[in-house]
């Protein structure tokens, strides 16, 4: 049984079908309409051209780990980087209309976080094209009778036997509202991200995280919840925050707000002297081209803390291209400006765009296991790969926590989704071969009582008396709290407040009343259920963020930032660099750990798990830090000493695999 028909779920389904395994595929939407269609940018792998410039799989692995601030177990990531070229070859064979060079090879471009042109893409709709190719293959298996689809079905939770193993799941038909048990020998969750917990995000309407939350509440562990990626420039819509590519800044866009808060004049009537180009003023060197995370923080800061948002009712700043020749803009940015015009009804070549950072991706997700080979890769075919702590319940795609650590590189997620979907299949094949008991051996009462219980909950929800809380308004409030406290900049006082407020909201949500108590295509009750299930994940994100007193990847807590070096005097500066590295090492010991949460019925309990960094030892990220060179030097010296002394006995940190080209 596969839940979710995005890239990850479809890849798993088609591979399982090829291995001769019958698959039931359940999804809230027809699988072809899954959120994966939204991805525009592309998918990464090293390739023949980059190889000749010195690139290789190891470097892709290294970039991914470094970008994620070392918070991911390295063997699965390494395996993914080594499979990446094969994944793209496969998608190419499946007919994806990747852009081509004049000679007919795949065209590649460069994405953030790397020096190489690794990214293959299909126009501005790469995700859509990849998803369609997999959707088509699954349709082919459907025709051959290997796959049965349950579209417009909501996953209500796993069904566990007495030993705690997963023996199937519950689903509800969104049209007839029938609740049914689906016996299965293994269940794979591929249900994507949870952006809707933040109210609006760049994600699609079904990205509520409800399926994951239901597994979490049934005992599955949740990892690294607090790591949420925020994209600096999105178009704030009433319904959704739509991505605005960063190339708008790259082509000369200037970011500003009126000096007078909420100046009612139209932007073009505001003279230069009354505009605050805050990025240019605060970062004279980089100006509007500051890195992604800094742009995000500053835009957030100017609106939330300085109160200088362009509008009163909604946070946004101007991204202004109107000083550039309109024809040039059309030539260079036509496609993305067209999106703005289509959804805002305003031509950004003549009127400044309004933009604001938006929640974009969840690095955290269901905790999942893997089996390591001696060389530090994945043991392909191991039933442990991608299994959660509940036997026979698996997690792949954006809903697992495995590949991106503290932050995700652009164009790496489509890769991790397809890769994880493909490699989970042989593991399941082996699981099925070794299972002593199958779902067919279960007594019918296991399933019957699970259905009864779910039906009871459903009926109770419908019977709630009127006049209670409105679920849509509660969702808005939850989104506001989460966006304020747990996105770009985090501080403990605010997180404490947020935890309290979310607890209150959760309690109020228990008193939601429905405006539709019918039993036919009742979207009201489905939404209310997913709202209730947002709270456990929201609480996990907040608690994880509250406890993690450091800065790592997307988790930025200024109170715990590593300082720049201050002295101008060489010896003193050296001392400062040594102290900096001491502190950095202490921080590794304390915080280079994954957050792992379990649900106790009311709140998450959190423990920390060591990270397998045996292949690439952690090193500091020194972007834009004063004294970066000295720190780097000290760090490298220490690393060399460690490598020397580690010599033979159990080189825990520096690893048993050496690649000459790794830097």
């Amino acid at each position: 049984m596969v839940i979710g028909g995005g890239l990850a779920g479809l890849a798993a389904t088609m591979k399982l079908a090829e291995l001769g395994i019958d698959v039931d595929l359940m999804s809230l939407t027809p699988v072809k309409r899954s959120h994966s269609v939204c991805a525009q940018g592309g998918i990464n792998s090293c390739n023949d051209a980059t190889r000749q410039l010195g690139d290789n799989e190891w470097k892709h692995f290294d970039d991914t780990v470094y970008g994620g601030d070392f918070l991911q177990h390295q063997p699965p990531v390494k395996e993914m980087a080594y499979w990446a070229p094969k994944v793209i070859d496969l998608m190419d064979r499946l007919g994806v209309t990747f852009n081509r060079t004049p000679e007919g090879f795949l065209y590649r471009r460069r994405f953030g976080g790397t020096l190489y042109k690794r990214t293959a893409f299909a126009g501005a709709t790469t995700g859509q094209q990849l998803l369609y190719a997999l959707d088509e293959q699954v349709r082919r298996w459907e025709c051959e009778g290997k796959v049965t689809k349950y579209e417009f079905w909501d996953f209500l939770g796993p069904i566990l036997d007495d030993s705690g193993a997963c023996r199937g799941c519950l689903g509800q038909d969104l049209v007839s509202m029938e609740i049914r048990a689906f016996p299965a020998d293994a269940v794979i969750l591929a249900t994507g991200g949870c952006g809707l917990i933040y109210g609006r995000s760049t994600m699609s309407m079904v990205c509520t995280g409800s399926a994951v939350s239901r597994a979490f509440q049934a005992g599955a562990k949740y990892g690294n919840g607090e790591f949420i990626q925020v994209h600096p420039t999105a178009i704030p819509g009433a319904d959704k925050l739509r991505l605005m590519s960063e190339s708008a800044r790259g082509e000369g866009g200037r970011v500003w707000v009126p000096k007078k808060a909420q100046d009612p004049r139209s932007p073009k009537d505001i003279p230069e002297s009354e505009r605050y180009y805050f990025l240019e003023e605060r970062y004279p060197e980089y100006g509007n081209l500051v890195p992604r995370d800094i742009a995000t923080r500053e835009i957030f800061d100017i609106c939330v803390n300085d109160g200088l948002s362009v509008e009163a009712g909604r946070q946004c700043v101007y991204l202004d291209l109107t000083h550039i020749d309109p024809q040039e803009l059309t030539r260079k940015l036509g496609g993305i400006l067209g999106i703005y015009e289509k959804f805002q009804g305003v031509d950004p070549r003549f009127t400044p765009m309004k933009i604001f950072p938006a929640v974009h991706y969840s690095m955290g997700g269901l905790w999942a296991d893997y089996e390591r080979t001696a060389e530090g890769g994945l043991q392909i075919g191991s039933p442990r790969n991608h299994v959660t702590n509940i036997p026979a319940l698996y997690a792949v795609g954006e809903c697992d926590y495995q590949y991106h650590g503290g932050n995700r590189l652009g164009a790496n997620s489509l890769l991790s989704c397809i890769f994880s979907g493909l490699i989970v299949a042989p593991g399941i094949e082996n699981l099925l071969a070794s299972q002593e008991k199958t779902a067919a051996d279960q007594t019918g009462s296991l399933y019957a009582s699970a259905v009864r219980q779910a039906q009871q909950q459903h009926d109770d929800l419908l019977k709630r008396s009127g006049g209670g809380e409105n679920p849509y308004l509660l969702h808005q409030q939850l989104g506001d709290v989460m966006t304020k406290a747990a996105t770009v900049v985090r501080n403990n006082a605010q997180l404490d407040d947020a935890i309290e407020t979310v607890n209150e909201l959760a309690a109020r949500a228990e008193k939601c009343s429905l405006s539709d108590s019918g039993n036919w295509t009742n979207q009201n009750v489905v939404f209310t259920k997913s709202l209730l299930d947002m709270f456990p994940i929201a609480k996990t994100i907040l608690k994880g963020a509250r406890q993690r007193d450091e800065c790592r990847g997307a988790h930025y807590k200024p109170a715990f930032e590593m300082p720049s070096l201050k002295s101008d005097e060489a010896a003193e500066r050296r001392r400062e660099a040594e102290a900096w590295c001491d502190r950095f090492e202490q921080n590794i010991d304390k915080w280079l750990k994954s957050t792992v949460a379990t649900w106790n019925g009311e709140q998450p309990d959190i423990v920390y798990e060591d990270v397998d960094t045996s292949l690439i030892p952690p090193r500091p990220r020194l972007y834009g830090l004063v004294g970066a060179e000295e720190i780097d030097q000290v760090w490298k010296e220490r690393q060399r000493n460690r490598d020397k002394s580690a010599g033979g006995n159990g080189a825990a940190k520096s690893g048993d695999v050496k690649e000459p080209a790794a830097t």
């Binding site: 269609v37 859509q128 009433a238 409105n470 539709d516």
Partner: protein, 282 residues
Amino acid sequence: MGSTNGNGKPEFITVRILRQDGPGQESYWERHQVPYEPELNVISLLQKVAAQARSVDGKQVAPVCWDCNCLEEVCGACTMLVNGKTRQSCSALVDRLLEDNSNEIELRPMTKFPVIRDLMVDRGRVFQALKKVQAWIPVDTYYDMGPGPRIARKEQEQAYPLSECMSCGCCLEACPQYTKVELTQQDGESAEDFEARKAKAYDHAFIGAHAISQAVLFNSHPTGKGNADDRVDALTAPGGIQLCGNAQNCVAVCPKHIPLTTSIARAGRAATVRGLKRFFDA
């Protein structure tokens, strides 16, 4: 609200929605009013209508049902008739609609598909057609076999627009040859039997421009060519391309601007060639 000052925007937006409680039931109109806000689209408008769940005369009503997901015009879920035109509702901007008719916005479900509830329809037939034309590349295996066939840039540029089809059904709603097929589950008929009966009925009715275009897409791919004849046979079977009256409504409404009539012409030529070949082989 500064931006509504004196620019003639109404205080309220009135929405008239054609509702239907379930398959086979009578439909009825219902009016809703939502305070005006700038920069809404039809989906955000519907969200507000659902949140207040009260019609214009103050009556508590069940929230309206509709279908959507991406809100970026790439998933194809949200097709409906907005002021009589078939289109994606997520990219239908309220300010623009009000320019055409400031009195009210009218929303209706698609007419060529069975209504499930309110604005939600059953578009299973759209996907059934993709099965009929075998819209996939028949690769041998998903094991690693190296890269795919080399494809010239010009061919990619021709194929890419066709591969953007999001199965939204606009082209079908607009097509005079595409008529509604609505079956009801009979007493004692199992869900599976009902599905099979529907698939059969769909296969006999007109296949639609989107599927013709997909067949052309796969027939132009070096590997897809392998079963090109099967696709052409599917296109000439009952319900096939011969039903197309060349009215060209489809191409005019496709939100992705897919050159559907070009595809239909290409498929027509392929069908003729295949017909002749079969004639001489026989």
